[in-house]
Amino acid sequence: MAVLKTRKTKITGVCCALPLDGRNVYDVGAGHFDAETIGKVAGPVGSETLYFAADGQTASDLCFAAAERLISSAGIAKGEIDGVIFVSQTPDYRSPATACILQDRLGLPRTAIAMDLNFGCSGFVYGAFTAASFIESGACSKLLVLNGDTLRRHTSLQDKGMTFILSDAGSAVLLESSDGAEPMTFSMKTDGSGYEALIITAGGERLRESEKTKELRMDGDGSARSDEDFYMDGMGVFTFAVREVPLLIDELASLHGIAKDDVDDFLFHQANAYMLKFIAKRAGIPMDKVRVNIGRYGNTNGSTIPFLLADFAAGGEQAGRNVMMAGFGVGLSWGGIAGRLGDFRCAEIISV
């Protein structure tokens, strides 16, 4: 079992970055779908404003801005940061790892470890698990987990299952070694048999990009996309999430030694609002404990939990709260974190 119990890892700050171009869902769908269809799809999803990266603006640009602000607001010396983990499905280059570029761009020491992780919806949990493992082993003491994606470039505007959900964004979360840290419990899961449920088929080695992979094809549901666009099997992903997340919550409660009722706040990947409501019902969690902000930011993929943390901690109300976080999606992969949050050095959302 991929379970990690931490004794000295503490989440101490978050900054999220949105691109400047925020669009109402009706503007996003204009010219492709009528207003009734848009309302019918976006309504249950809960999305209202979606963000689009500017031409030439990459996920690492958004993460860089978030990290710079986090470092300055938190008042930490760059020389103390000994690791940067960039979690993304939209790296700057095929090679090298974008984290290496960010190490230099952020002015982090050459003694820092820098690595990319290819995850989406579950990406924050994966990044935090990796960072916490490095801290618990004693290898590192301060790490940045950067989650960012520019999936709008890989989303067909004519795919109603995707286009009213996804936003571009980046985030930076600081994890530190601290003697006064509250224990946290991580549990990670994988089911690669579902890899086709969320996939960009073309562009890797298995299927190279070509004229053929650019062709738009209409599906039976009135949506059109190419092999270079992000595809989601809505039914497959929904059933996966609503079955697995309640089980994960029960498992985390048991591993962490906390009653589900004693968890104050649930920070779930903002897949869609209806799904969160259904997960809460099946898990026996009151919906007022489930934080929902998909309306303001859209589904920003791996950075949804950092956005929840930023909103939560903006007024300092997170300190002392028992939380459970869960990320789930592309892979298929999922994982969760149980623990009590402490003080944050920074909790901001900026526009870039």
């Binding site: 019918k40 799809v41 309504g43 249950p44 039914m235 929904f238 059933t239 799904m275 259904f278």
Partner: protein
């Protein structure tokens, strides 16, 4: 079985049991129908009745009574 089915469908559709019968067409604006509610019904019925439902068969359903045939095998 019929009563249980109607209870479960009513819960997902966020309506009262009394508003549904086997003759009710449930994929309509009256119940604010969308595909997410469809996924929710499918998952619920599979678990509550211990059956496996093909997506195509579910798509073909119109009335609550059609769902009863699916869960009855």
């Amino acid at each position: 079985m019929e009563e249980k089915l109607i209870d479960l469908v009513a819960e997902v559709l966020e309506t009262e049991h009394a508003n549904l019968s086997l003759d009710t067409e449930f994929k309509t604006d009256e119940f604010d129908w969308d595909s997410l509610k469809g996924y929710a019904i499918l998952v619920t019925l599979e678990e509550e009745f211990g059956v496996s439902i093909e997506v195509e068969d579910f798509i073909a359903t119109k009335k609550v009574g059609d769902l009863l045939r699916l869960v009855s095998g």
